[in-house]
Symmetry: C2
DNA sequence: TTAATTAATCGTAATATTGCAATATAAAAA
DNA sequence: TTTTTATATTGCAATATTACGATTAATTAA
């Protein structure tokens, strides 16, 4: 095989997996961290910031955008990429559930 | 290529990416959700719970364990898998940074 | 118009992931 | 010991990801 059995899981599970997967690469973590740092961005900056070729970064940006973690708009001469709150809101709920569980958990079997 | 340029990124970026990547599959999200629900687990339960073959689930459990998101100990006849707080603590910090940023962000260029 | 700049897309090689049947391992039960 | 039960490992086919050179597309500057 090689393809995930997407149909076998809930829409929410797939959605979360897509978001997590998009963050599952150090270059994409670096891009998000950079966007947080500069609080606005044009793609050229990222190309200078990261040790990857321009097409590779463009591809990573596309994946982050498809997952809903960043937004990109034309801003004069180049493209402005920013954090997309919506995507992060979705992940937040998942981690809040886990945090809540960890705080009150009693069964410490492992 | 095909391999990530791990060496080009910080240790923290790689660590976060590994954690996120481990969550980047619906089956592994389902496993985590199930562990949260039952608050303790033996692998057999998961095999019955998910629409995947036993070797496939074993593999997903291994990946979650390697990433530090779950722990597994022998519990009599079978193995008890639980949430590993440490891994989730690490991700938590990252999302707290993002949440903090999103709350006070002003530059809404996109 | 032509040249320069910026970013996306195409094509492709190297590598990783997903899923499972078959098999192996290890412990408990008979 | 033999059988059963529970989980891990191996091997492999199908598919996905990563990275980048070459190219394209679109805009700005000259």
């Amino acid at each position: 095989m090689g393809a995930s059995k997407t149909d076998s899981f809930t829409e929410k599970q797939n959605e979360l997996a897509i978001l997590a997967k998009a963050l599952g690469h150090p270059a994409r973590i670096a891009i998000i961290e950079y966007l947080l740092k500069v609080d606005a961005c044009i793609c050229g900056d990222i190309v200078n910031e990261l040790p990857l070729a321009q097409p590779t970064i463009s591809q990573h940006l596309k994946e982050l955008k498809n997952a809903g973690l960043i937004k990109g708009n034309f801003e004069g001469t180049s493209i402005c990429y920013c954090i997309d709150e919506l995507g992060f809101e979705k992940i937040k709920g998942f981690f809040q559930d886990i945090t809540k569980y960890l705080e009150k958990r009693k069964n410490n079997c492992c």
